[in-house]
């Protein structure tokens, strides 16, 4: 027996199951990062005056600015990959999805250099509460990037083409849902960047 509204929308809610599902999941993610942001506020207040500003100044603003632009670009390429599917252009989809994966990889590479740069200078999560929350927030964010890349990678490889040829509308919806997740990851970074690097 088929589960209804997996692909087509339910008339009264106007949604299919995955769309609602991903938004509920993103709601829980808002609370997850919210808990960590709340911790940041609390820890900043508990720290001696100027402590967070001091440790924050050790972060590289240029690297993070580049990363912000890279992630925003990946959001655009992500939505363009979905648009390509809506226009029934699988080759364009592959190109844009590939670009998204590339941007995500660049983000992670820059992050890698950021982290190893810190370790090289003997700065670890334990070095201060600022560094602790910095590594935790960006680390958790990074894990979300990796998770997203795994799912996007799966849909980019042959499995994607197989799904596209057998159930194009379902596949398009899946990419839309992945896109929503990816935009959320971008959203979190939009707040992380000023809070950690600029304030």
């Amino acid at each position: 027996m088929q589960i209804p509204y997996t692909i087509e929308e339910r008339p009264d809610t106007g949604l299919n199951n995955s769309k609602l599902g991903i938004w509920v999941f993103l709601a829980s993610e808002i609370m997850l990062f919210g808990g960590l942001f709340s911790a940041y506020v609390f820890l900043r207040m508990a720290a001696p005056a100027g402590d967070f500003a001091y440790w924050g100044s050790k972060l590289s603003i240029p690297m993070a600015t580049v990363n912000t632009l890279v992630l925003i670009s990946s959001s655009v390429t992500m939505i363009m990959s979905w648009v390509s599917l809506k226009m029934k252009d699988f080759e364009k989809y592959k190109m844009y999805m590939g670009l998204t994966l590339l941007c995500a990889s660049i983000f992670l590479v820059i992050k890698y250099f950021e982290y190893t740069g810190k370790f090289h200078h003997g700065i670890y999560p334990s070095s201060s509460t600022f560094m602790g929350i910095y590594f935790t927030l960006t680390g958790l964010h990074g894990l979300h990037i990796i998770g997203g890349m795994i799912v996007m990678g799966y849909f980019w490889l042959p499995a994607g083409y197989k799904m596209w040829t057998s159930e194009p509308e379902h596949f398009t919806n899946r990419i839309e849902v992945v896109g929503l997740y990816w935009h959320f990851v971008d959203l979190v970074w939009i707040f992380l960047f000023p809070i950690l690097y600029l304030l």
Binding site: A27, V76, L187
Partner: protein, 101 residues
Amino acid sequence: MSDHDNGHIEDHIRVYLTVFGALAVLTLLTVAASYMDISTTEAIFLALTIATVKASLVAGYFMHLINEKQTIIWILTLTFIFFLFCMFIPMITVIDHTSLS
């Protein structure tokens, strides 16, 4: 969502690219603003305002929230209310603390 046809799509693409441009500009703006000589409170307020604008653009246009269904809007509104509680109440309990004096 089968209510898009090719002509319509071109408009959407234009919107996405415009938003992309706005986001890039706002990013550079937020970096520039951080070098301004203002108090910490003002800096926080400014940075968060710009971040909120950027986030609204991503949420509104990339995530299609601008014309999303009521169910989703309700869930997000509820989430946002609890998010605010989680963010601010702990902070306030520390500011408003008992003292021996």
